[in-house]
């Protein structure tokens, strides 16, 4: 049996340590992992816990991220709790197997410390890797700080392993800004954390030889469609379980999570929609603008990225006049993902706020308070005009001449 760790009421952890501690408390049976910046310290932390006897699962040190996820799939199909962590290029390398993990309905948890994708090579935080995985059939949840990274990592196991879900889960956090910044984190005790998640519930384990199972069969045009439809339905239906787990966590810790987070939105007339640590920055800027400029600014964040909370996000934004969607990923020849998805959500609603799109922070470029206030200033103009008077898409924080599209 693994030794338990006595934790302080408030610990000072960075986001990686928050991930590593939650993974330790979950008593994972197999972790297969490969090093990459900036998620490496998650794996270092986990390795040290193992060396000190706080973990009694297997730690498989594979030769690539593709193998990391392949090992996770083999282990999860054998029947037990499985997790890994990665970033960026490593995540890109494991993409093939991400689809196989979700297709086989294996509740693997992946801590994704978000980082830019090359080329040019860049180790800093943006959401390119997060966006790359968004059609892979995984539940995707975003943590905006270290406390949330810890909490959501614990909840990730409970959500994915729920018998009505059985899907893999990605917990995102921002590279460096969250992953490497020491913050106050209030952990649960080892027992409370483990009991919250519960024992792993096996479904069709390969190690049950009384009932041999075939994983990864071939289906062509006769069955493939039905499998993928059921998988999509399971992902869509997981919303309820996610909300229930958030609720249960709240009753345990008094920390509240929602699939769509709203800040200062009660009377907001303009809103920024963002992800990651930028959410906290935007809330800070909104508070300042409210206090000093009288601008009714608010912030909305899609805590859960998959399944995308279409109705909830439309509800959260229904009373605003103008919205800026902030995408931290190069959109590759179209609008940013948040712009597209928020627009789609609102198109079905009664209200039609003016929406514009900002590409920002690529490769770790800071999104400053001044940058965010400039965005708010733009959407205040749109709100007053009742129509789009700023570019539909523009880059924020870019050096050199202004860059915008669909003017």
């Amino acid at each position: 049996m693994a030794e338990k760790l006595k934790l302080q009421e408030v610990e000072v952890w960075d986001g990686n340590m928050a991930f590593a501690q939650a993974m330790r408390q979950a008593q994972i049976d197999v972790v297969a992992a490969y090093p990459i910046t900036p998620s490496t310290p998650t794996v270092h932390g986990y390795a040290k816990f193992l060396s000190d006897g706080y973990i009694d699962g297997e730690f498989v040190l594979v030769e690539s991220e593709h193998a990391a996820m392949s090992g996770c799939v083999g282990a999860a199909a054998a029947g037990g709790r499985v997790a890994t962590a990665t970033s960026s290029q490593g995540f890109a390398l494991m993409i093939e197997v991400l689809y196989q993990a979700s297709g086989m309905r294996l509740p693997i948890v992946l801590g994704l410390v978000n980082r830019a994708l090359a080329s040019p090579l860049n180790v800093n935080g943006d959401h390119s890797d997060m966006y790359l995985g968004r059609d892979a059939g995984w539940i995707m949840i975003d943590a905006f700080n270290a406390q949330e990274a810890y909490d959501l990592m614990l909840m990730g196991f409970k959500i994915g392993e729920d018998l009505s879900v059985r899907l893999p889960v990605i917990i995102n956090q921002d590279g460096f800004i969250t992953s490497h910044t020491a913050q106050n984190v209030k952990p649960l005790s080892d027992d409370t954390a483990y009991n919250f998640i519960g024992d792993y519930k096996e479904v069709n384990p390969m190690l049950d030889f009384a009932k041999p199972i075939t994983y990864g069969a071939q289906t062509e045009e006769d069955w493939h469609f039905e499998f993928k439809a059921r998988q999509h339905k399971a992902l869509m239906d997981s919303s309820k379980v996610i909300s229930d787990v958030f609720e249960e966590f709240k009753s345990l810790t008094n920390r509240e999570y929602k699939r769509v987070e709203s800040y200062l939105m009660d009377d907001a007339e303009v809103a920024i929609v963002a992800l990651g640590s930028t959410v906290e920055s935007a809330v800070q800027a909104a508070k300042d603008l409210r206090k000093n400029r009288g601008i009714k600014a608010g912030v909305v964040a899609t805590r859960v990225i998959r399944p995308f909370p279409i109705k909830e996000v439309a509800e959260a934004l229904k009373n605003v006049k103008a919205i800026a969607t902030l995408d931290r990923s190069a959109p590759g020849g179209t609008m940013g993902m948040l712009f597209n998805e928020i627009s789609a959500a609102l198109y079905q609603s009664e209200s039609r706020p003016v929406i514009s799109n900002y590409i920002y922070g690529l490769g770790g470029r800071d999104m400053t308070q001044a940058d965010i206030k400039e965005v708010y200033a733009d959407i205040v103009k749109n709100a007053k005009a009742g129509k789009l008077v700023t570019p539909l898409q523009q880059f924020s924080g870019l050096r050199g001449p202004k860059l915008s599209f669909f003017n």
């Binding site: 049976d29 197999v30 297969a32 009694d56 699962g57 297997e58 498989v60 040190l61 594979v62 030769e63 690539s64 593709h66 193998a67 392949s70 090992g71 996770c72 799939v73 083999g74 282990a75 999860a76 199909a77 054998a78 029947g79 037990g80 499985v82 093939e96 197997v97 196989q100 390969m206 190690l207 049950d208 030889f209 009384a210 041999p212 199972i213 075939t214 994983y215 990864g216 069969a217 071939q218 289906t219 062509e220 069955w223």
Partner: protein, 316 residues
């Protein structure tokens, strides 16, 4: 637990965990190689299968040919799937969560030569280096048979394939086959061996040794491919006999990286030319301008056989 199998009758009446109902070509050697492995033991089996002929022909939903736990992830990662499952087994054993803790479990991976020599090379290397307790069997038919017969790094020199077709100015593949047995032995794997389905007793013996070995094992199995080697589907064993008797596929094993033992010495060694002559993939080599390739192949086979014998004698 190894089964005692002394003769073909015992073998043919043995319990089938690999069902006869599958979609492999008539005359495909894969099924012989696979069935012998599954039937040589009574232990529980977890099988990982790389994408390829064996995989697409044995697990087409809603059917399966496998009366054993089986997983297919992708083309390249059968060794890693087995690694993950084996790691889970170790954890559950330690935590006392195995359903039947007293019955031994063996982990086996099957991959074709494309999955083994090429796309899955790194994954196999990693799994062997990590020392997982598993047996990897390469079904070596020297070609990407499932995708229509393209060259792999196992394809022998001179073979005409879909991507190295013999033509007006080409005699087919230019490069020699990669020596995977040597590469796996160089990893320090406790046991590596080459087998052929025509020498089934030798094959079963090696399988049983493999499954009894603690740590990673690599078995390279010659798998004559009626479709891509281009011979009649009732000649699989005959062609395989010519493969082992010409020493193109010598049968031997290497223990702990060095101790090499030749396990089959043909009474009458036949010329490589005779082995090539029964296969359509080498037909063009018999043109006058390509005859030199046959001579070069014979020379390479002779040199390899000499090396194997010297290594056996020297015990290195």
């Amino acid at each position: 637990m190894s089964k005692i199998i002394k003769n073909l009758k015992q073998f043919s009446t043995s319990n089938d965990r690999f069902e006869g109902a599958h979609l492999l070509c008539p005359g495909c050697a894969h099924s012989i190689i696979v069935r012998e492995l599954l039937n040589c033991t009574d232990d529980n089996l977890v099988i990982a299968n790389a994408t390829g002929c064996l995989e697409v022909c044995t697990a087409v939903y809603p059917h399966t040919s496998w009366d054993a736990s089986w997983i297919h992830i992708g083309f390249e990662n059968a060794a890693t799937a087995a690694s993950g499952a084996e790691a889970m087994y170790k954890t559950l054993q330690r935590k006392g969560r195995l359903k039947d803790p007293d019955k031994p479990v063996k982990f086996v991976a099957f991959g074709g030569d494309g999955a083994t020599y090429d796309i899955g090379f790194q994954f196999l290397s990693g799994a062997v280096e990590r020392g997982h307790n598993f047996t990897y069997v390469c079904l070596d038919n020297e070609v990407y048979a499932n995708t229509g017969g393209q060259r792999s790094s196992s394809t022998p020199r001179g073979a005409s394939t879909a991507t190295t077709p013999a033509g007006r100015v080409s005699y087919g593949k230019k490069r020699y086959k990669k020596d995977m047995v040597a590469i796996m032995a160089a990893h320090g794997a406790p046991y590596v061996a080459q087998v052929a389905p025509n020498k089934w007793k030798d094959m079963v013996k090696k399988y049983q040794k493999a499954l009894a070995t603690e740590g990673p094992v690599y078995i390279n199995a010659m798998s004559a491919c009626t479709t891509e080697w281009k011979f009649p589907s009732d000649k699989t064993i005959d062609v395989s006999d010519m493969g082992t008797d010409s020493l193109v596929f010598p049968l031997y094993e290497i223990e702990n990286g060095t101790k090499l033992t030749i396990t089959y010495r043909p009474k009458n060694i036949i010329p490589v030319r005779d082995y090539l002559g029964v296969q359509g993939r080498f037909k063009h080599l018999f043109k006058k301008e390509n005859e030199h390739v046959i001579e070069e192949m014979q020379k390479a086979v002779d040199e390899k056989w000499e090396l194997l014998q010297r290594r056996e004698e020297a015990g290195v």
